[in-house]
Amino acid sequence: MAYLELNNIYKTYGQGDNITEVLSNINLTIEEGEFVAIVGFTGSGKTTLVNLINGLLEPTKGEVLFKGEPVIGTSHERGVIFQNYSLLPWLTVGQNVYMAVKEAFPKKSKSDLQAIVAEYVDMVNLTPAINKRPKELSGGMRQRVSVARALAMKPEMIIMDEPLGALDALTRGNLQDEILRIWGKDKRTALLITNDVDEGIYMADRIIPLRPGPRATLGPEFKIDIERPRDKTALNDNPNFKKTRNAIIEYLMDIGNERKSQIQKEYALPDVAPKSFVW
């Protein structure tokens, strides 16, 4: 039995004439301990897909099975790292994490909870900033708080919705390593949504492209056979990496062109020629 299963998922927004089908016939299985990346263009329905899996949205048709049980609502077993951090601005770093931990382990004593908070804040190297509020932190630090908050609840599966999309390249690289290190420590199942093919190849076991919406559907999967731990600099010379990367990009380019040709319209241009200013 697969760990997470998506069977014939359809998701539509709106009603009547204004109905738009965002996701169409999505099938996906993820095994326990796997790291899967879904790559797609912006606006292709990635966030909708992620919200279906974490339980914030319900599919119009089809079912999402988590450990064989249909997903109804959110659950502490599936931790979410949001695209825009979604930290509560009136709480400090510690309080943001504490709030999550308290919900996840309601029976633990306050000192135990504090210890968990301290542990996870330390894990993302934010101990010096534990009493700061989100607005005093940089984007990368905020996202690390978000990572700590999601992981401190000890979820069985981590769902990441473009977690590093808004960060600069250097911070991005550091955080990728940090997430991988944490993931590697207790081998949780992970689903990463991203628009960066390199990031997907560097982090995931499998990459599945999402064909752009409306009526987005999953493309063929690409297996990444590169041994862990992966070295970012050596990766560039790895023939396997190059091959996979080219294959995925080619595929994405193809569907991009396909989409462009579909929406191409003939515009009737007036028959005018530039006037010559040369006598």
Partner: protein
């Protein structure tokens, strides 16, 4: 060092920081081109506008005084003959208080009125103190016998009226707070409730303070029929509260109903219970809007208070203004203008206090 910090925060609090900072720079000799521009904008222009204000006031008051005087003299000429008219003209020119026409007072007269009011206050305070000393022994006996102590029932001074007004406005403000914030939260949380009471809010919001006062009077009158206590204060603060609470009600409802979707998603992912969702996510995120509403409420409360005190005959600045107007003494107009400035200044201070609190609870601030 510590004193300069408090001085700085005080000037910042009343909005004079730029002004004083620039003046300080002039004296410490830290001047460059940018500073000259600042001096012009933050020192010279404000001072010029103050001077201009007083000049216009002074000249305008003189002109009005002249017109009124001419009118009086003409009237005397027609009714009593040239001899009386000439006498009146001489009397007005001599500056005798008994024959001055009733017109807009000049700044000098208003300043005089301030001093009269203050002197009056000291007189009354002394009188009050003497009274308390005199009755202290008797009161002790009366309390021991289970009787009511004798209290001072003399006329309140201007300063006493100010404090009464501030107490009334705070009573009204607290009433507005305790009605509008909980109702606003409930309305904000439930779209059904919101649409069902929307008509009520929209209709009652623009109602004039005078009508609110009459409405409250109709209701409170029935309740206080058998009580001997003075109901003017109760009517007054309830009217102020009801009249000013709408801004808070609308803002709270809006703040609660428009919480950022990201925060709601966080609450869902963390699986917060409904109460926790309200108290840990929705309320904190709508606090800035609630406080904006409260700030508007306090300034509206102060504004309508004067009118309502006047109608309710409840002691305070409003009643003071009205009584002075009815009084018609030769310095009544000056006292009214003096009260106007006091009302304006207190309103300004109240607004500043609320602004400071609002800044403290706002988490989006960038300082």
């Amino acid at each position: 060092m510590k004193q300069s910090i408090t001085l700085g925060s005080v000037t910042k609090f009343i909005g004079l920081a730029g002004f004083l900072e620039t003046i300080k720079n002039v004296f410490t000799g830290k001047l460059d081109k940018e500073d000259l521009k600042n001096i012009f904008r933050k020192v010279i222009m404000p001072l010029a506008s103050v001077l201009l204000f007083f000049a216009v006031w002074y000249l305008g008051a003189n002109k009005l005084h002249e017109i009124e005087a001419d009118h009086l003299i003409n009237k005397a000429l027609v009714e009593q003959g040239p001899a009386e008219a000439e006498k009146l003209r001489a009397c007005i020119a001599s500056g005798d208080k008994s024959c001055q026409p009733n017109a807009l007072p000049s700044p000098v007269q208003v300043w005089g009125a301030y001093q009269t009011l203050l002197a009056d206050h000291y007189l009354i305070s002394a009188d009050k103190k003497a009274f308390i000393e005199k009755t202290a022994a008797i009161n002790e006996k009366r309390i021991a016998n289970g009787e009511k102590p004798i209290t001072y029932t003399g006329r309140p001074s201007f300063v006493d009226q100010i404090f009464t007004s501030i107490i009334t406005v705070f009573a009204g403000f607290l009433l507005a707070l305790f009605i509008a914030v909980p109702i606003g939260i409930v309305i904000g949380l439930s779209p059904t409730l919101r649409s069902s009471v929307n008509w009520l809010i929209q209709i009652f919001k623009p109602v004039s303070p005078v009508v609110w006062f009459l409405l409250v009077f109709m209701i409170v009158k029935t309740f206080t029929k058998n009580s001997s206590s003075d109901s003017a204060f109760i009517i007054c603060f309830i009217s102020v509260g009801l009249c000013s609470m709408w801004a808070t009600l609308v803002n709270t409802a809006m703040g609660v109903s428009s919480v950022d979707k990201d925060y709601i998603n966080v609450a869902k992912v963390l699986k917060l219970g409904p109460m926790q969702k309200v108290f840990k996510v929705i309320l904190p995120s709508s606090l800035p809007l609630i406080f904006t509403g409260l700030r508007i409420t306090l300034s509206v409360a102060w504004m309508v208070l004067i009118a309502i005190e006047l109608l309710a005959q409840s002691p305070g600045l409003g009643l003071f203004v009205w009584e002075e107007f009815q009084n018609g003494a030769n310095d009544s107009n000056s006292k009214i203008i003096a009260a106007m400035f006091v009302i304006g200044l207190i309103g300004f201070m109240l607004d500043r206090i609320m602004l400071t609190i609002q800044k403290m609870v706002s988490f989006n601030k960038n300082d």
